[in-house]
Every structure is written in structure tokens, then in C-alpha cells.
Amino acid sequence: MSAPTIPAPTAPSPARPGRPAGAAPGRRRTSLGRRLAPYGYLAPVAVLMLVLMILPVAVVIRYSFFDNVIISPTSVLVGLRNYVQILTDPLFRTATRNTAVFTGVSVLAHLVLGLGFAMLLNSPLLGRRTKTVFRTIFVMPWLLTVAIIAILWRLLLDPNGVVNFGLQSVGLIDGPVAWFSELNLALPAVTVMNIWAGYPFFMVSLLAGLQGISADLYEAAAVDGASWWRRFFHVTLPSLRPIIISMALLDVIWTSQQFPLIWMTTGGGPLERTEMLSTYTYKLAFSEYQFAQASASAVIMLLVALVLAVFYVRHQRARD
């Protein structure tokens, strides 16, 4: 009597475990379609990112290594020459310094103002209606487009504008002050304008953060006899720290690239007192037609933004 032979089990397909051998060709096609489907869904976004983001950036980086790009059909590779020219240009250094001051002061003021207003709106001392009124007023600058903000501030700070009229009325100044035209006042004036335009973003984010802090923490601190300042420094600020860091990094990136507000009010003047990296790059491209040097300047700005973006992403990951 011979032992019954048991057929060896069919080895499962490495690609699709458990799929019976000799599957119909139609099923194979379905399986391929299923594998490709996610890529199909991603395709529109991938194409959009490629065409609208990666391609232009790649083209600008390429331009920065050539000479006479765009304006001449025979541009030649010049290596790092454009970068050397930009980095040794005194105006670039002035623009970098102005951008650093403008950005640093703006971000700090955005944070202080945003936090102050957020705490006011989160305060139990204010009624609901009062809070709604203040919330509407405080968020107002955020609702205006950049062009409107620029026009508004040009009118406010005009020598014949409301600010001069008010200051003259109370005797703080003798005659009209041209805020955007005075050499020593232009940079503070555009910075104040930018602070006004940008603090609501901080305020809204920090208000959400404040509302997420457990009341138990404040109660425990109060039971321990902590003063308002100690509660602020030891409960509020540590709880808001991740939001503050994220907001500050984003704000540094955005503010350092601010162009329209500067262009529509001072255009980088007077005498380069408000020249920023953005206006410097724009003038190189559309006034001097030095698109290669403008590309090099833009790439330098991109690298700075990239470093900040890396910090931002790492911080976000650490938070998660």
C-alpha cells in the first residue's frame, strides 16, 4: 500500500500573496491598475508642483550660473561669477542689513503685540460682546490686501496726512514730517507699517494656543501662591513655546521676503535706507535687466529661507 501523495502547496506570488497561479490576464491588468491608481491620484498635484515650483526654481538656479540670460540668445556659463559680484556689491550688504533690521524688529513686535492682544481676548475680565468687538478690530489689518495697506499708510504718513495733523495738533511736532522720505525715519516707518500688517497672524495663532492651555495648570500655580508674572513665565510661555517658535520661523521667512509693501511706499529709498533684498533683486531684474545677477541674488535668498525652513520642519517633527 502506498502512501497517498499530497500535492505540494503552490508558492505564493511575491508580488500578490495568495494569488492563485494562472490568473486571468484581465485580473492582472486590474492589479496593475490598482497599483498605479495612487500615482494617478497624485499626478495632478505632482505635475502642478513640478511645473509651478520645482521647474521655475531649477531655471532660476541655472540662470544664476550664466551670463546675459534672457536678454541674449548666447549666454555663457560663468560659474560663480554672479555670486561673487552680488556678495561683493555694497548695495547688497546694505540691503541685507536693512532686511535683517526690518525682519528682526517686525517679528519681535509681531510676537509681543500678538501675544498681548491674544491674552486680552482670552481674558475672563472681558465680556463676550466686548471680546467680539476687539477681535474684529484687532484682526482688521489681516483682512486688507497689501496694496490697500500701502495706500492707507501712504495717506496716514503723508506730510499732509492724519498722523502729522494729529501730532501737530498736540504740539509734538512743529511742521509736517515726511515719514517715508526722511533718511532716518523711512526704515522705522516701513517697519511700523509691516508690524501693523502682520501682528494679527500671531494673535490668532497664539489665541488658539492660549485657549488650549488647561485651566488646571493656572489653578495649581495659584494654589502654590504664584503671582501673575510667575504664572505667565512658568505656565503660559512654556505652553505656547512650540507655537511661538513655529510662528517666529514662518514670520522670519515671510518678512525677509516682503516686497510689495516696501515697493509701494518707498521703493527702497530714500537713498537706499529701505532697500531690502527683495527690492534689490527686483531692480536688478526689471530695471537693469541683469537677470543672471538677479537670479544669483534670489538663490542666496532662497538658501537663507531654506535654512530657516529646515529648522521649521525639524521643529514641527519634534513637536509631532
Binding site: 491598475g33 491608481a37 495632478p44 511645473v51 523711512a186 527702497g268
Partner: protein, 436 residues
């Protein structure tokens, strides 16, 4: 299963469509080239040709006005149709720069004199001298032509002149009976107007660096009005006596505090607004703003006159102007038809009509716009224009706007930082020379 594979196919198709639409959208975006002059896709099977005409004029004219002129052209030239590509000035400039680089300019291109040199050097715009010769065009009727290397590349279609505007009431209040005709009279009038108080100033000077055309219209115009020049043999010559005397004169006005505050970041529209509101005694401005001033302040009494000249100057006075210029793309396959459109716009009647609509002076010397007959102020301006000579030395220069900006920075150094006039002009000379 079938539904799933169908969905997969649908996603693939959607992806492909999305990709194509994105590429198409990018093709028409701001800063992207305009026109398709490089190809011959504009020739229909019946042999008719469709010309593309890019310009910023249509948005600045009454609705349908330019299209109406194009319709008349199409009737007069069967077989040629015109497709208008219109955008505001700044967008047109960016798109034209991109189109010139990629050789995809529209067949007929609206041009600003400041762009011509660069486009001609790129061989993006055609040599109109040859086209005029080929078609037997009588160029003696043209008021001016913009040349590069001796060949014409742009024809000014209409011109916006910049005379001096005076606030009659403010001048009368200051005891000045007539608009000043010389620099001494001007300085005197400006001081008297400023002395009247109430925030009034004698003169207004826009020097914003983002729009530095104040250097052309409000600064260098003083030199041209006295027969001076900033060029010698086509090269920069800004250290000469004529330009030096202008900057010294402006510096004296600045030190006398007769120039309205805010000059260093002021734009042309701010200047017009201040004058319209009656805060300024005198300004140099485009004639095109007469109707705007009248509309915004009907009570303002003002007059226009030629720019004051140096004391004792008796020659013809140069009057600054800005133009709506026209050119033909060098890569257009329909250059002959494109030049027909240029010829049409420059013909006596059409040019007069276009000038009337735009409140500008004609590019054809024989054309007389309607407003000259119906409006005394325009008549005065037309007489000043005809007695003087059109003057704008920035037209046709390489990176003209940047040259103005460079001059602007140095002028501001002199006015606000006390840098000696000679140092400023030497710096300008060095900078300009490097760009020629």
C-alpha cells in the same frame, strides 16, 4: 473590478488634462511672453492674416476706442485682421521683455522709448527704416523717430508733453502776476508762494526710486528747456555746465525749502494730487492730466506755460514728452502687413483721431487733434509744443530707467546728504558710462 479599472483610467486622463492645462496656463501668465510671431499660425486657409498687436494703450482709452480704430483698419485692409493684446503698462513691459527674449513678440508692439535700445540690440524688434523704404513711406511727416545705430526702431504714435502748470490763485496770492519764464523768476515765485503759509509750497518734485521718471520729466527737463543736453555724441555728458547748473538750481530751491516735503519718495500721482488740492504753486506735468485735475477739483484755476529757461536764453525750448511708441517684431512672418498697421495709425486723420481720444499730441506733423480747436488750454499747449522742440534724451538709451534711478540716487545724496553737486554728477557720469 471594472469600475475600479475605469476609475484608474479616469484618474490617468484627469492627470494628463491637468498637466496640459497647467502648461497652457503658464503660457499666458504674467511675465510670460506675448504673441506668437515666431510661427505662422496666424495665416488662415483663405490667405487672410491675423496680426497680434500688444500694447498698454487700450486700458488707458475709453472702452472700445482702440478696437474701433482696428475695425476701421480691417475694413480698409481686407485680408488683415488685428487681435489686440492689452494689459496695463507694467504688465506689458514685463511681458514684452520676456517676449523679446524668447522671440515671441506680437507682430506689432507698443513700445516705450526707454525699452527700444535693449530690444534693438537683442534684434527683437525690426529695423523700421528698411520697412519704410520698402513700402515707399514718406517719413518726413513723422514728428520724431527713435533710432539706434542710425536706424529707426520705434515711431512715437502720440506724445504726452510735460509743460509747467501754475496754480493761478496761489500765484496771485503771492503777488506773482504771470507764470515765470526764467529760472530766476521761478525761484522768486516759488519762495513767494511758500511764504504765503497754510502749508503751500512753491514747487513739487517727485523723486521716488521705484518710479524714477521724475528725473526725466521734472529734473532734466530744465536743461532741455534751455537748449542743454546730458549727452555728447550719444555718450553720457552729465558733468557739463548745463546739467550742473540745473542740479545747482534745484539744490538752491531745496535749501530754500520751497519744494513740497516728501520729495524723496514721491511719485508722479502724488505730485498731481498735491497740485490738484491746491497745495502747490507750480509743477511740471503731463498734459494728459488736465482733465483729471479739472474733474477732481473743478474750482482750481490753473494755467500752463513753457518750462522756464536760463536767464537770457532765447533759443527754442525743449519740452519733455513721453510717447506711445510702436514697432514691429523682427520675428514676425507678416512684417509688411504689420507695417501697414503702423502706417495706418500714423496717417493724418487716424493719428489726429487717436490723439484726440488720448488727449495727446500727434506723432504726425500734419495731424491736428480736435481738442486743440475746442479747448483753450490745449490750444496753448499745442502752441508751446509747436514753438519748441520735443526733448527726451532718455528715449533710446540702454536701461533708461536704471540711468534715471542712478541719477536719482545721486541727486538725493546732494539734496538730503549734502554731497557736493560735482561729486554727484561725477558719480552719475561714471555709472552711466559703464552702461553705454
Amino acid at each position: 473590478m471594472r469600475a475600479q479599472s475605469g476609475a484608474t483610467r479616469m484618474v490617468m486622463v484627469a492627470g494628463a488634462v491637468a498637466a496640459l492645462s497647467v502648461v497652457a496656463a503658464c503660457g499666458g501668465g504674467e511675465g510670460s511672453p506675448i504673441g506668437n510671431a515666431g510661427g505662422d499660425s496666424t495665416k488662415a486657409s483663405d490667405g487672410s492674416v491675423t496680426l497680434e498687436f500688444s500694447q498698454w494703450w487700450e486700458p488707458e482709452m475709453p472702452k472700445g476706442a482702440l478696437r474701433g480704430i482696428m475695425d476701421d483698419f480691417e475694413k480698409a485692409n481686407p485680408g488683415i485682421k488685428v487681435n489686440l493684446i492689452s494689459a496695463p503698462y507694467a504688465s506689458t513691459q514685463q511681458q514684452t521683455v520676456a517676449g523679446a527674449a524668447s522671440k515671441t513678440l506680437a507682430d506689432v508692439v507698443g513700445l516705450d522709448g526707454a525699452w527700444v535700445s535693449d530690444f534693438a540690440k537683442q534684434k527683437a524688434i525690426a529695423d523700421l527704416s528698411t520697412l519704410m523704404k520698402d513700402s515707399g513711406y514718406d517719413e518726413s511727416q513723422l514728428a520724431s523717430q527713435i533710432k539706434v545705430g542710425g536706424e529707426t526702431y520705434m515711431i512715437p504714435v502720440v506724445n504726452f508733453v510735460y509743460p509747467m502748470f501754475s496754480n493761478d490763485d496761489l500765484l496771485a496770492k503771492a503777488g506773482v502776476s504771470a507764470p515765470p519764464a526764467t529760472r530766476t523768476q521761478f525761484a522768486d515765485a516759488a519762495k513767494k508762494v511758500t511764504a504765503t503759509g497754510n502749508g503751500a509750497y512753491g514747487w513739487i518734485l517727485p523723486l521716488a526710486q521705484d518710479a524714477p521718471n521724475g528725473i526725466q520729466n521734472d529734473v532734466m527737463s530744465w536743461a532741455w528747456a534751455s537748449g542743454g543736453s546730458m549727452l555728447k555724441d550719444g555718450k553720457p555728458d552729465v558733468t557739463n555746465a548745463a546739467v550742473t547748473s540745473v542740479v545747482t538750481f534745484i539744490k538752491s530751491l531745496w535749501d530754500a525749502k520751497v519744494i513740497a516735503p516728501g520729495a524723496l519718495t514721491m511719485k508722479e500721482q502724488d505730485k498731481v494730487e498735491q497740485f490738484t488740492n491746491g497745495r502747490v504753486g507750480m509743477m511740471i506735468d503731463s498734459l494728459a492730466h488736465i482733465n483729471l485735475i479739472r474733474q477732481n477739483n473743478p474750482k482750481l484755476k490753473f494755467s500752463i506755460s513753457a518750462l522756464p529757461a536760463e536767464d537770457g536764453y532765447t533759443g527754442k525750448r525743449g519740452m519733455p514728452y513721453a510717447s506711445w511708441g510702436i514697432g514691429v517684431s523682427d520675428s514676425s512672418p507678416h512684417k509688411a502687413q504689420a507695417f501697414k498697421l503702423v502706417q495706418y495709425l500714423m496717417s493724418t486723420d487716424v493719428n489726429a483721431k487717436l490723439s484726440s481720444i488720448a488727449n495727446a499730441f500727434p506723432g504726425n506733423t500734419k495731424s491736428v487733434p480736435d481738442f486743440v480747436k475746442s479747448d483753450a488750454m490745449f490750444k496753448t499747449a499745442f502752441d508751446i509744443w509747436n514753438k519748441g522742440v520735443p526733448a527726451n534724451e532718455f528715449t533710446g538709451l540702454p536701461t533708461a530707467e536704471d540711468l534715471m534711478r542712478s541719477f536719482d540716487v545721486q541727486l538725493q545724496e546732494t539734496l538730503a546728504n549734502g554731497q557736493p553737486v560735482n561729486t554727484s554728477l561725477s558719480n552719475v557720469q561714471a555709472d552711466w558710462s559703464s552702461k553705454f
